[in-house]
């Protein structure tokens, strides 16, 4: 692809959109326009001298402005179900009006529902009742309807995307592992963890932009290794230098999850209804702060029923189609991806440098690789 291609990336304030903007810039693309919903999400991509524009995908005027002169749209923006559906429709409308030469739509393997076994793109999309997957199916359907009207759409269905800046699959699990309350879920965590390293996804996106065979097609994008969830927890835990994980029996993990559910519901209800009062009391009373922090920690470190279900399932998203038509080949092994992710966590001071034996203040007195204290 020519480096003077004019590219708009939506959702550039997020993990995947941000990575795509950064990679495009670093790979020499001269006209990268980063679309964000609000300025406060621009701190990360603001480090790169790219054009940043407001592009709330629910705002047709902002979309119209953002698409001026654009050759290619990479649509990564997310949101509620309504935003996924209506926002994607708005973007496709804009792409049609502005005659974009390619529209890459980021979908998800969640469109296959909760089925197990080998899954390729011929597998029917399954309405699982989960809001995210349902909305993404509707967004894909919109893509195909606009494809018929002339928008050159390519749909990518990444699996579990991880790497530096992944708050969900890296940041959240690092926090859980550091809490000492996480473990290996015996009998529950042996399902398949379909990890794809972010840079592999970026490379797949490049190929979707370049390939003559891509338009009108959907592609699974998965990583190089298939490991279990327990293996993932264990490898991330090792990379963080934490003590070996203990096994948590199936009964115990299920009971904890069931017991935590009403706590989570109650906490959300109380925060929704009495957020202001709670915040005021939280600031004023130490004992309330202590209690709130304990509840928060328990909630964060107890997997939900949905999560336990995911840890037990064994889907395997096949990438032969992407290999054949796009020439995509995942290059990063899980251990490489985890190593880079942990280096990022340490750079951001999100984890300890030495197994938690330094105080949080002291350990962060490092200035890059130097240390003065």
């Amino acid at each position: 692809m020519r480096t003077d291609t004019r590219i708009l990336v939506t959702g550039a304030g997020g993990f995947i959109g941000g990575w795509i903007v950064e990679a495009l810039y670093l790979d020499g693309f001269k006209y990268v326009r980063a679309g964000i919903r609000r300025w406060s999400s621009a701190a990360r991509i603001g480090r790169f001298p790219v054009e940043i524009v407001l592009c709330d995908i629910m705002n047709p005027k902002q979309i119209d402005d953002a698409m001026q002169g654009v050759d290619v749209v990479i649509h990564c923006a997310m949101g509620s179900s309504d935003v996924i559906r209506k926002g994607t429709e708005n973007m496709l409308d804009g792409a049609l009006k502005h005659h974009v030469k390619r529209f890459i739509h980021f979908s998800t393997v969640d469109v296959y529902g909760t089925v197990e076994g080998p899954i390729d793109e011929k597998h029917p999309l399954v309405h699982s009742g989960k809001a995210y997957g349902e909305a993404k199916i509707e967004a894909e359907n919109l893509c195909w309807s606009f494809y018929k009207r002339g928008v050159p759409v390519v749909v990518l269905r990444p699996s579990i995307v991880y790497g530096p800046y992944a708050k969900l699959w890296i940041g959240k699990f690092a926090e859980r592992l550091q809490s000492g309350r996480w473990g290996l879920f015996k009998g529950v965590g042996e399902g398949t963890c379909n990890l794809v390293y972010i840079r592999d996804l970026v490379n797949a996106t490049y190929r979707a932009l370049e390939s003559n065979n891509a338009v009108g097609q959907a592609f699974n994008v998965n990583g190089a290794d298939l490991i279990t969830w327990n293996e993932y927890f264990s490898r991330l835990n090792d990379a963080l230098g934490l003590p070996q994980l203990r096994e948590i029996g199936q009964r115990k993990s299920t009971v904890r999850s069931v017991l935590m559910k009403p706590t989570k519901v109650a906490a959300h209800f109380v925060l929704d209804k009495f957020g202001g009062v709670i915040t005021m009391m939280y600031q004023r009373y130490d004992f309330l702060r202590t209690i709130a922090k304990r509840i928060e920690k328990s909630m964060k470190t107890t997997p939900s029923g949905d999560e336990l279900g995911m840890y037990g399932r064994k889907p395997s998203y096949r990438i032969e189609k992407a290999r054949t038509l796009l020439g995509y080949e995942p290059a990063f092994r899980v251990d490489q991806g985890i190593e880079m992710s942990v280096r990022w966590l340490r750079h951001e001071s999100l984890v300890s440098h030495n197994n938690g034996t330094e105080s949080s203040h002291t350990l962060q007195m490092r200035v890059g690789s130097r240390r003065y204290e």
Binding site: A42, R47, A331, Y372
Partner: protein
């Protein structure tokens, strides 16, 4: 041109609030409301006239215009709360027209700009102050007092860690517009952090190293190490993730620790033991420290006070930031160096 020694004015001043962004709405307008009895009129200025009108209406008895140059002859003071890169040109313009200025931090990007503004203010018999409130925080002042008293002995180290996800509701997004400025957290948050460190030290340290994550845009994480006499200072600031938001000052005879956003309590450790100190002054019931610069500014315009934080007081910190930028190298960020890695396995 006005005389340097003005008698206190009997009439109330008309002042302009230039820039109607988030800081104006969240901070300056509520403060001006509190001190409304000390002002004849407030004029709100913004290049977006609708935004200026909207805030003027919320204030009550205020006018609005879209160009500050239209009102320079009818105001005695102006609060400059525009994007950073406009602080210097607008402040200089105002000073040249004999208008007192209270400028939002960072006052400038270079020491030369600060000196030029001070020179202009002197030449025109007006003042330029800066809203660097952190040195007014009760805990900061107490720390200065403890250091000066020699209670913890000669300083050995200061470490200062401040960071969180950027959530300032900026309306214009100028913080991230690399066409306007390629300076990020080091200038923005650094204006507070370096100012308070210089305030504690009583002088300007020399830069030992400076690192950031900028790729030519506005850095989001910065780490700077400095030396002042025998004291090593290390600072880390982030717009991306939460840092401990704490500081630690170690002297040869004791130490002081505190949380950056707890403006009241510090922990002092000396040979006599460790104690928590409540630094909130008991007689400070009327004006919150954060609003002191504005109350003071109104007194300054009336000729009844001198600026709490004149521009010259932040010269050290502005020069320090300037020098840090001059020395900055990029952190090792190896994940950006990876493209396609072929693994032998």
């Amino acid at each position: 041109m006005m005389n340097n020694q003005q008698p206190p004015q009997r009439t109330l001043p008309t002042i302009a609030l230039i820039g109607c962004g988030a800081i104006a709405e969240k901070f300056y307008l509520p403060a001006l409301r509190q001190f409304a009895s000390g002002v004849e009129k407030v004029i709100l200025v913004d290049s977006n006239p609708e935004r200026a009108r909207q805030l003027a209406a919320s204030f009550g008895d205020a006018d609005s215009v879209s160009n500050y140059q239209d009102i320079m002859d009818c105001i005695q003071g102006a609060i400059v709360a525009v994007p950073h890169h406009l602080h210097v040109p607008i402040s200089k313009d105002l000073l040249t027209h004999d208008v007192h200025v209270l400028c939002e931090k960072p006052l400038a990007e270079t020491g030369q700009e600060v000196r030029e503004m001070v020179r202009l203010a002197d030449a025109h018999g007006v003042t330029i102050a800066v809203n660097n409130t952190r040195r007014l925080v009760p805990s900061s002042r107490k720390i200065k007092e403890i250091i000066t008293s020699g209670e913890i002995g000669s300083l050995r180290s200061i470490s200062y860690l401040e960071g969180g996800e950027f959530d300032w509701p900026t309306a214009s997004g100028f913080y991230f517009n690399s066409k306007i400025s390629r300076k990020g957290v080091l200038l923005d948050l650094g204006a507070h952090v370096f100012d308070v460190i210089c305030f504690w030290l009583g002088g300007k340290p020399e830069i030992l190293s400076s690192e950031s994550d900028s790729f030519g845009g506005c850095e989001a994480v910065a780490a700077v190490s400095m030396r002042y006499q025998d004291c090593i200072c290390t600072v880390r600031m982030s717009r991306l993730g939460k840092l401990p938001n704490s500081f630690r000052i170690i002297g040869e005879k004791g130490s002081i620790e505190g949380a950056i956003h707890d403006w009241r309590t510090i922990t002092l450790t000396t040979s006599r033991g460790t104690s928590m100190i409540d630094t909130q002054p008991r007689d400070n019931g009327k004006v919150h420290f954060s609003r002191m610069p504005i109350a003071n500014f109104l007194d300054v315009i009336r000729g009844a006070a001198t600026p709490l934080i004149p521009a010259s007081h932040v010269l050290d910190s502005i020069e320090l930031i300037q020098e840090a930028y001059g020395r900055t190298t990029r952190f090792p960020l190896p994940w950006y160096e990876q493209k396609e890695v072929v693994d032998a396995d």
